[in-house]
Structure formats: structure tokens, C-alpha cells
């Protein structure tokens, strides 16, 4: 068999190629996969791959790139061809990384304990004293030994002679295991036959071990475990949300947690709930602004106190970042002999910590062959490739090294091994780094079989997700039957049936409440725009007045109308204003801004929304392109498309979301918002209309999507009282005010810990509205003589609506302070 799928020349010789030793024949463990890829052919592979890529986009699998303003939510880039590892090779790697995890755990235990290794000179003191990641408040604090390195990630590369080397250790909050899982899902789906036939070791047992380890860490019954994320702007937020769902832990941000009575609590709509274990993805120095970095907005004030009190367990333990530096690598062989009585199985790539005189001399004499990095990554220095420096720069750099040598570490560069990558219809070869993971479960170490393979971009040998490289799955081809346990369908354990939804933390309730309000607000703006815009040019003077009143219902504070107070805006000015309300994302009250806000809030609660809803939110955000010149005539079509999507959203809201607290808050938001603008619109009618204003009635019916209801009842006769009946009093019309109030009362009563006063006020409003008898109301019709029946009824109605306009926002505020109190408030630092 030939590797006829390879289209480009490979650089054999310089680097180890994973696929083939001679560039012609695949290594034995690749033969089966290559044969099946060849049989499938490039077209079929291409088809399957585009299907997979579509799924990645639709599922919203992303990796954010910090420095790139457009980089937020970039689609995840993965590859069709997995990296294959034979069983014997994996056994060697596994033993090596497990030994490493054992060793580093002991090292951390000593650093945060007796510090004998410093006193005995096994590791140099500056590695702690000059290290900003050495967290002094945690020294001497008792935590379970196996929490120091609950999880360790090890980056491995293979040198040209076929040996594996450790490039880096990630000791504090290693990322990527969730992406490995996602890659596995995608690739096994694209190549189901190969996956099944190749006897690939499964990933699920590793994650089961992780879940069990975290639960055990709590050392109590029914513990509550949360995953602490820095938030949606973090580059691996997708992974946090994916893992929390997969492991079944609540995803929280620092502001969701609070420390009281030396315990950590989650703020939920049901009150405070105690937390037992935190799986953290926040860097350790940011975890407690009281005792660690005072400027951190990501942490929980008092967390260290709760740890000291033994009331919370953190994985990885705070402070584990102290050894997340290549500077410890030169000392590992000695430490391994000293602590484990063994030789180090997996060597680190050659590393020199410049704090040692000999090492500094060597590095200065061999600058061209090394890359120099900060010994303490918190310093944020970019790696310096000696060979890229001009002579003058070299001198300057050497001075820097001599001034504070302990701040630098130098490493040899190795040329990465290459593996096949599927790219635009061909297989090409790229450098790869294998990031693999080890758990310390307390009853043993468990390695992930395989891990996340990171692929270098076209030419470089530098592998960095931050720089936009991509990733691969890794398949360990086992030589005996594999455990096919799946986290999603446990086989042996009976499932405990549960009806209660997950706990809803205050910040989630806050977000879904506003999601409901903004979706409803968008609909109202879109409906008013769609009613007004087509009428502007053909409106006579009277109609024009009505359109201005309709615009007035939006109560915009950012209108583009000329400031002069005496003249009413003319139709050209109204046109500019309405287009601006449609597309201008700089004004917060425009439709474009509202849709953007929906997308922002949706991003915060994406782990609570279905993939379909998230995809709809993405489409909504994109349906109005602000930079395009929107012609007046096109806008109704845009608005109709937008309204259809909003309707699809409310359909999903009604039919696809469990009726838990989350849904309650979203619906409350929607009902409150609709009631607020309906009261405002109805007041346009309760101020007696003149003959010139009659077309307003038609517009209001259209805005409330109730023209059809009206026409089936009253044919074409437009009468204010009849319109009021349809839009205000008719409890069967989902667009009527009465309908909103009924639902408000129903929803509010279902809330835990609701405010009795507000419920009472809502019920009063509901009954006031019911008791209005529109039939006895006299509405001064233009041209008719005034009758003397209930003449102040209309005024009372007007007052009621005004009062409602005041009450509705106050109920919204009360909800905020009752259920979302400080959910999004950052603590303020004093005295630092």
C-alpha cells in the first residue's frame, strides 16, 4: 500500500514522523487507519468533515483568544486524523507521567509544609522566595495531600530519535481535558468504523475517576461541588461549561460565591447553599482578594480563611502554581531519587535555571541554541529565541540575565515529531505536542489514555492554542478488550431518578430574567419599527402625528430628532430616527443593541440553554448588520425575519425548557417587560383620541399582533373601547395587559421566598383591571355629543395605567434585590 493521500513532500530526517519511518510505508499501528482512510477516499472524507465542522459551529465549541478583539468565540479547530499510540508505548508514557505526578505532589506538600527540601538544599530557595506564585498564606495550612495536584497536565514531545520528553508541566488549573473529550466525540463520529475496530482506550473512565475523586475530596455525604470559572471572556470558557455539564457540577463565577461563618456558599434563588469542593479554573493568586491578589475581581473574599477552617476543599489546592515553571525541571532527577528512590522515567527537555552560576555561564555561552523564558510565568515575558537576537541585543539581554539570573530559565529547542493532518482535501504533516493528564484520586493515580494533541501551524515548530494552532484526538490502541463505560449511560449503577432541576444560582436567575426582558423588548421595538417605517412616506399630516406618538411609546432617551422644541420632527427626520433605532448599535435603545445584549447575556448562561437556542441567539445577533446601509424599503423584510426568529425563541422557551426556577425568571422577565410597554401604549388611547388620531388604533393593534382578533370580532369598525377591550381587558388574548397580569401572579406565586407585599399588589392590580367595566365607560367620540354616563372612568383608567407603569419596574427591582442581590456586584477593596 502506498500513502497516496499524502500530497506534499514530507520533511523526513529532521523530525520523527509518527506515521511512517521511511515516508513510504506506515508504521504497523497506523496501517489499519490509513487503509480505511484510503478506502473512504478524499470526497467522502471531505463530506464527513464538513458535517463535523458544521456541528462544531452549531454546538458553539469555541476557544477565545485573549489579545484578539474579534477572537471571542472562535470556532474550535480540530483534525480528522487522530494521533495513534500503540499499547506498549502508552504503558511507558503512562508510567512516566504517573511517576511525575507522584513526585510533584510530594514537592508541593513539602513546599507548603515543612520546607525541608529548601533547608536541605534539594531545591534553591529563590524558586520560592522570588516566585510570585508562592502563596505564603497557604504555608502550613492543612489540606488533603491528594488535592495539591488533583490534576496534572504534562506536555510531551518526541525528539528525532523517537524518545518522549516533557516540555512543560501544568500544575494549577490545567486546561484542555474537556477539549480532548470533545475531539473524541467528533472524531469517533466521523470515523465510527475505525474507532470501533481499533480497540481504542475510552476516555470516560478517566472522567468518572475525576468526578469520584472530587466527591471524595469533600469527605462528607452528598457534597456540593462547583467548577469555578473566570467567566465567558476566558479563552477556555467553553470547556468550563462543557466539563461542568459532563461531570454534573454547577458552573460558577467568583461573584456567585460568598464566605460567611468561614464556609463557602453559593448564592441561589432559594438562598445560600453551602459548597464543599471547588474545582477551579481561576489562577490561584486570583482566588481570594482578601489574602492573595487584592486587585482580583475573579475570586471569593475570605476563601483562604474557609480553607484554613477546613470547610472547603480546592482542586488543585491553592498555591500549586508555584511549580508551574520550567525552573524546577533541572532539579527533578535529584528530587526523584531523594523522594521516591527511583530514577526519573520521563526526562524533561534540557533546561537551565539561570539562578545557578554554572547554568548561567552555560546559557550565556550558548544563547543561540536555547530559548529563554521567565522562570516565573506571572512576569508575563515573551520567550526569547537567542538565535533571533542581533549582536547588540544579545549583549543587552545578557546584562538582563546577569542582573537577576534567578528570574530566567533556558531550554533547548527540540524539533517536534510530525503527524498527518487533514487539510483542504489532503493529508499534510505537522509538528505535534501531546498534552496528557494525570489525576491523583487519593486512592491512586489515573492517567487519561491519550489526551489533547496540539498541532503547530503551517511552518513553525511553536505550538500554541493562543496563537491560533489547532488540535487532534489521540487514540491509544489497546492490546486487550477495553472498558466501554460511558459517563452518559452508566451500565452497572442504577440511576437515581430525579425530578428536581439543578440549583439555580442568583447570577443565572438574574441573567435569564434579563434575557426574557430583552427578548420581549426586542420584539416590541421590531414591531413598532415595522408598523411605522412603511407608513412614513405615505403618511398625511394626521397620520404623521400618529407615527410620532407611536415612536413616543418607545420612550427613547437617545433619539436623533433635532433638539429644537417648537417644531415637530418632519417625515425625513422621523425616517432617520427610525433607521437609527433599527441599526445604530451605539445607542443602547436600538434594536441592534438590544439583540447584541441578548447575545451577551445568552453567552453567560449558555450552559443553561439548548444548542438550538444558542444558535438562534447567534443568528439574531447577526440579523442586523450595522455597517451596511439599510434602505428604508428593505427594512420591513429584515424586521419580519427578525420577528420570526424572536417567535422561534419564544416557542423554544415555551416548549423546550423545563418549568424550573430558571424558566420562571425568564417568563417573569418577559411578562413584566410586555406589561410595561403595553401600559404605556394603552395610555395613548385613554387620552381621548381626536378624529385625526384614528389611525393610531390600527397601528396599536398591529404592534400587538391583534389586528386579526379585532377584525373577526368587530369587522372594520375601529372604536377605542373595542381596541381597549382586545388589548387590555381580554384575558384570553396573550397580547393583552390582563393576560400579562394573570401570568405575573401565577409565576410570582411559584417563586421560593416571594414577597407577600408584592404579590398582594399584583393581585390588586389584577382585580382592579378585572373590575373595570368598559361597557359603562363613556369614551368621547369625535363628532358625537358628550353623554353624562361614567365620565371620569377614563381618567381613572388613565391613573391606573400610570400607577401600573410605576409598580411594574418596582416589582422588577424587588426581584433583583430579593433573588439576585449582589449577584453581579464585585466586592470593593478597602485599606489596601
Amino acid at each position: 500500500m502506498t500513502l497516496d493521500l499524502y500530497q506534499t513532500a514530507l520533511r523526513y530526517g529532521a523530525a520523527y514522523d509518527e506515521l511512517s519511518a521511511d515516508g513510504v510505508n506506515p508504521r504497523p499501528h497506523w496501517a489499519h487507519l490509513m487503509e480505511s482512510l484510503r478506502t473512504m477516499g478524499p470526497e467522502e472524507l471531505g463530506r464527513r468533515w464538513s458535517r463535523a465542522e458544521r456541528r462544531i459551529r452549531e454546538n458553539g465549541i469555541t476557544y477565545n483568544i485573549y489579545s484578539d478583539p474579534l477572537g471571542a468565540n472562535r470556532p474550535w479547530k480540530t483534525d480528522l486524523v487522530p494521533l495513534l499510540l500503540p499499547a506498549n508505548e502508552w504503558r511507558f508514557i503512562e508510567a512516566g507521567i504517573i511517576q511525575r505526578a507522584q513526585l510533584l505532589s510530594l514537592l508541593l506538600k513539602d513546599i507548603y509544609g515543612p520546607q525541608n527540601l529548601i533547608a536541605n538544599g534539594n531545591i534553591p530557595a529563590p524558586l520560592l522566595y522570588a516566585n510570585p506564585a508562592f502563596l505564603r498564606p497557604l504555608v502550613g495550612v492543612q489540606v488533603p495531600d491528594y488535592s495539591y495536584l488533583h490534576m496534572l497536565a504534562v506536555d510531551l514531545a518526541r525528539s528525532p530519535d523517537g524518545k518522549w520528553w516533557v516540555l512543560a508541566d501544568r500544575t494549577q488549573a490545567p486546561s484542555g481535558s474537556g477539549y480532548a473529550l470533545e475531539n473524541r466525540t467528533i472524531v469517533s463520529d466521523v470515523l465510527p468504523d475505525s474507532f470501533r475496530d481499533s480497540n481504542v482506550l475510552r476516555l470516560a473512565p478517566f472522567f468518572r475517576a475525576q468526578r469520584d475523586a472530587l466527591i471524595n475530596l469533600a469527605q462528607c455525604d452528598n457534597p456540593r461541588v462547583v467548577l469555578l470559572t473566570p467567566g465567558p471572556l476566558n479563552e477556555t470558557y467553553f470547556e468550563h461549561s462543557y466539563l461542568s455539564r459532563y461531570l454534573g457540577f454547577t458552573l460558577v463565577e467568583g461573584t456567585d460565591l460568598t464566605v460567611r461563618n468561614r464556609c463557602v456558599y453559593l448564592k441561589t434563588v432559594d438562598g445560600l447553599e453551602q459548597i464543599d469542593v471547588i474545582l477551579r479554573r481561576v489562577d490561584d493568586s486570583f482566588c481570594d482578594p482578601l489574602e492573595l491578589r487584592g486587585d482580583s475581581l475573579l475570586g471569593v473574599p475570605g476563601l483562604v480563611e474557609a480553607i484554613v477552617a477546613g470547610n472547603i476543599k480546592i482542586a488543585n489546592a491553592l498555591g500549586s502554581g508555584v511549580i508551574e515553571t520550567a525552573a524546577v525541571m533541572p532539579f527533578l532527577p535529584g528530587l526523584c531519587r531523594h523522594l521516591l528512590g527511583e530514577t526519573l522515567k520521563l526526562p524533561s527537555v534540557a533546561t537551565w535555571w539561570c539562578g545557578q552560576e554554572d547554568a548561567l555561564d552555560w546559557v550565556l555561552n550558548h544563547l543561540d541554541s536555547v530559548v529563554v523564558k521567565p522562570a516565573f510565568p506571572a512576569r508575563g515575558m515573551e520567550p526569547v529565541f537567542g538565535v533571533e537576537l542581533a549582536q547588540a541585543e544579545k549583549h543587552k539581554f545578557a546584562e538582563q540575565l546577569r542582573a537577576r539570573p534567578y528570574e530566567f530559565v533556558a531550554q533547548e529547542q527540540i524539533s517536534l515529531s510530525t503527524a498527518p493532518v487533514w487539510e483542504s482535501g489532503h493529508l499534510k504533516s505537522r509538528g505535534v505536542v501531546l498534552r496528557t493528564y494525570v489525576l491523583n484520586t487519593g486512592s491512586g493515580f489515573v492517567a487519561i489514555p491519550g489526551g489533547l494533541v496540539r498541532v503547530s501551524d503551517a511552518e513553525g515548530s511553536v505550538v500554541s492554542m493562543q496563537r491560533g494552532g489547532h488540535s487532534k484526538d489521540a487514540w491509544v490502541l489497546w492490546d486487550s478488550p477495553v472498558d466501554t463505560f460511558s459517563m452518559l449511560h452508566p451500565r452497572n449503577e442504577p440511576v437515581e431518578l430525579r425530578r428536581v432541576s439543578r440549583v439555580v444560582q442568583s447570577s443565572v436567575a438574574d441573567n435569564v430574567f434579563w434575557l426574557g426582558r430583552y427578548v420581549e423588548r426586542a420584539e416590541n421595538i421590531a414591531r413598532i419599527l415595522r408598523a411605522v417605517i412603511p407608513r412614513i412616506r405615505r403618511a398625511d399630516d394626521a397620520d404623521h402625528g400618529c407615527l410620532l406618538r407611536l415612536h413616543g411609546c418607545l420612550e427613547t432617551r437617545h433619539s436623533k430628532f433635532p433638539k429644537a422644541k417648537d417644531a415637530k420632527p418632519n417625515s425625513a427626520e422621523l425616517e432617520i430616527e427610525m433607521i437609527s433605532l433599527l441599526i445604530d448599535s451605539k445607542r443602547p435603545d436600538s434594536l441592534a443593541s438590544t439583540l447584541k445584549e441578548i447575545s451577551r447575556i445568552g453567552g453567560h448562561v449558555r450552559d443553561r440553554l439548548s444548542g438550538d437556542m444558542m444558535s438562534l441567539i447567534g443568528k439574531l445577533r447577526d440579523c442586523i448588520q450595522p455597517d451596511e446601509r439599510v434602505e428604508l424599503l428593505e427594512s420591513p423584510a429584515i424586521l419580519t425575519a427578525c420577528l420570526e426568529m424572536l417567535s422561534a425563541f419564544s416557542g423554544m422557551e415555551r416548549e423546550n425548557i423545563n418549568r424550573g426556577s430558571g424558566w420562571l425568571f425568564m417568563s417573569l422577565g418577559r411578562r413584566l417587560e410586555r406589561a410595561i410597554y403595553l401600559s404605556r401604549q394603552l395610555r395613548e388611547i385613554t387620552t381621548p383620541l381626536s378624529a385625526r388620531d384614528w389611525s393610531l388604533l390600527e397601528c396599536l393593534l398591529e404592534v400587538a399582533d391583534s389586528s386579526m382578533t379585532y377584525r373577526t370580532r368587530y369587522y372594520t369598525t375601529l372604536q377605542p373601547l373595542a381596541v381597549l377591550d382586545v388589548l387590555m381587558a381580554d384575558e384570553t388574548n396573550p397580547r393583552a395587559l390582563a393576560f400579562q397580569l394573570n401570568h405575573l401572579v401565577d409565576l410570582y406565586e411559584k417563586l421560593p421566598r416571594y414577597l407577600a407585599d408584592d404579590l398582594q399588589a399584583m393581585k390588586e392590580a389584577q382585580s382592579t383591571l378585572r373590575n373595570f367595566d368598559l361597557r359603562t365607560l363613556s369614551y368621547p367620540l369625535p363628532g358625537a355629543t358628550a353623554t353624562d354616563s361614567d365620565s371620569d372612568g377614563l381618567a381613572r383608567l388613565e391613573r391606573f395605567l400610570r400607577e401600573l407603569e410605576r409598580l411594574l419596574p418596582s416589582w422588577s427591582n424587588d426581584l433583583s434585590s430579593r433573588y439576585f442581590s449582589h449577584a453581579r456586584t464585585f466586592p470593593i477593596s478597602i485599606g489596601q
Binding site: 529548601i118 533547608a119 536541605n120 538544599g121 530557595a125 529563590p126 520560592l128 522566595y129 522570588a130 505564603r136 498564606p137 504555608v139 502550613g140 460568598t258 464566605v259 460567611r260 461563618n261 468561614r262 482578594p289 482578601l290 489574602e291 487584592g294 473574599p301 475570605g302 480563611e305 484554613v308 477552617a309 542582573a403 537577576r404 442581590s821 449582589h822 456586584t825 466586592p827 470593593i828 477593596s829 478597602i830 485599606g831 489596601q832
Partner: protein
């Protein structure tokens, strides 16, 4: 010498604070030169939890949480302290400062390691060539360490102006150094930065200084303030306290509260609050000498 010290800190908030997590470093740490006979911390409103902890540097910290809504926080530290410093004998034949720099990283003894950690950068203090250049005028080749230290202390006293308006508690050390102005905290930070930039070890000391009323006037109660100075490590001798704000080597008039790498390790009272809005801070210190 015995003192009774009263240190009251009051925060007044515009809006209620619903939760406050605080840490106070207001209890004098025991040391060779002084003992606290009595020390208590009175906190209003009453904290829901309150615990004491000895920190990494051996200081006494008090952690407390106030969980009831409050618009005012008052923390009052009352201490009675005995200070007994031996007259400092500044051996003129002390080792050359370069020798101290050489010895520091090689000393694996407890005291040596303990000192070594104060040679490096810390949150508020950077190592900079400009600090080293300034210090080198006192640290001439071969000069005995203690002599050079006292010379630097005097130069900072003379070159820098005490000016409570020039800096705030957050001013970076580099800024105060450039302005040649600041308060005791800045003076101490600057001298520490100078010493660390020469690879010497120095730590920040927070405490109180006895003040004397003008002749013939009574002592004013509450007019004192908390004070800061530094301590430099001299191999073979130990730690030498230096007060650049007053150009002196502290004796019985200085009461030590705590020490750390810089102000951020030992700030007297800090915290994180929810709510509160704008706040006003009032601090009063009263240091009353007691008859033996």
C-alpha cells in the same frame, strides 16, 4: 519603657454594607525587644466570626466577618507594651557590605533562609537600576555594612521631603522616589528598594512612634499616628532597624506591630465589602507612656 496604645480605625459608608470580610494586623507581635502585656481588639458591629492566625512572617492577624448590614465599622486596638531595646552597638568593624551580599544566598541556617526571602521583589517593591545607583553612593567598595546602612538612612532623610499630600497609600515606590517626597511608608519602601537592588535583605516594619508634646504643653490624646520603618539584615549581627523618616536607629520610642516584605503584607486593616458606596476613613492613635 511601657506604653498604653489605643489605635482606632473608623469607616463610614454612604450606603449599607451587607457583607464585610476583613483582616486586621493590629496586635503587637512578641519579639526579643518587646512584649505585649495585654492586647485586645474591639470591633463594632459585632463580627459573626472572628479568628486569630499567625501569618507566614510570624505576625498576629485577626480575621473577621460582619454579616449584618452596617454603615459604620469601628475597630479599636488596645495594647499595653513593654519595650526594652539594648543600646545598639554598631560595631564599626562589621563586615564589608559586599561580603554580606555574598554570604546571604549561601547561608542555609534557619535565620539565614528567613533573611534571604527579604532580598527579592515583593508586591510593592521592584528591583531597579535607579535604586541601586542611588544606594551605591553610600555603599562604596569595602565599606562596613552598618556604616553604609546608616549613611543611606541619613541621605534618604535629607534628600526626601516628608509631605503627606504628595503620595497616597497606593503610590508606587518608583513615583515617590522620583518625586523625592512622601510619608514614612514611602521612605521605608524606598530604602528597602535601594537595599534589595544591591542584593541585600530588608523588611518593612509597621508600628508606632512615641511623640513628644512641645515643651510646657500637655500631651494631645489621639494626635499620634501609626508609623513605618525598616529592618536590614546584617549577617553575623542580625536585624538592624532603621527609621529614615526621622534619621535614627529605633530604640525605646518605637513599638513594633508587625513586619513583612512591604506594606501589602502588614496593612493594619483591610477588607472586601459588598455595597457601601463611597466611604470615609478616620484613624486615631494614642500612645501613652506609663510609669514603671
Amino acid at each position: 519603657m511601657n506604653y498604653k496604645i489605643l489605635h482606632r480605625t473608623t469607616y463610614k459608608y454612604k450606603y449599607p454594607v451587607s457583607l464585610g470580610n476583613h483582616v486586621a494586623c493590629l496586635t503587637p507581635r512578641p519579639s526579643l525587644v518587646h512584649q505585649a502585656a495585654r492586647s485586645e481588639l474591639i470591633i463594632h458591629p459585632e463580627p459573626a466570626t472572628r479568628t486569630e492566625r499567625i501569618d507566614y512572617f510570624g505576625n498576629i492577624l485577626c480575621f473577621f466577618t460582619i454579616q449584618e448590614a452596617h454603615k459604620e465599622l469601628e475597630v479599636e486596638a488596645r495594647s499595653e507594651v513593654t519595650v526594652q531595646r539594648n543600646a545598639v552597638s554598631l560595631k564599626p568593624q562589621s563586615i564589608a557590605w559586599e561580603e554580606a551580599v555574598r554570604l546571604l544566598p549561601t547561608d542555609q541556617s534557619r535565620a539565614g533562609l528567613e533573611a534571604y526571602q527579604f532580598q527579592f521583589e515583593s508586591p510593592r517593591i521592584r528591583i531597579r537600576p535607579e535604586f541601586a545607583a542611588y544606594a551605591l553612593r553610600s555603599f562604596t567598595p569595602g565599606r562596613p555594612l552598618t556604616e553604609a546602612l546608616i549613611d543611606l538612612n541619613t541621605r534618604i532623610y535629607k534628600d526626601f521631603r516628608f509631605d503627606s499630600k504628595a503620595t497616597t497609600v497606593r503610590t508606587p515606590t518608583e513615583d515617590a522616589f522620583r518625586k523625592r517626597r512622601g510619608v514614612c511608608q514611602d521612605f521605608a519602601h524606598i530604602e528597602i528598594a535601594c537595599l534589595r537592588s544591591l542584593n541585600l535583605a530588608a523588611r518593612y516594619v509597621s508600628g508606632y512612634l512615641r511623640t513628644y508634646p512641645p515643651p510646657g504643653r500637655p500631651r494631645l490624646i489621639g494626635a499620634d499616628a501609626s508609623h513605618a520603618w525598616l529592618s536590614a539584615y546584617c549577617p553575623g549581627y542580625g536585624w538592624l532597624d532603621l527609621d529614615p523618616t526621622n534619621n535614627l536607629v529605633p530604640s525605646d520610642g518605637h513599638v513594633t506591630l508587625a513586619w513583612g516584605r512591604d506594606y501589602s503584607d502588614v496593612s493594619p486593616l483591610r477588607g472586601l465589602i459588598l455595597g457601601g458606596g463611597a466611604h470615609r476613613l478616620r484613624v486615631s492613635v494614642d500612645m501613652e507612656p506609663l510609669e514603671d
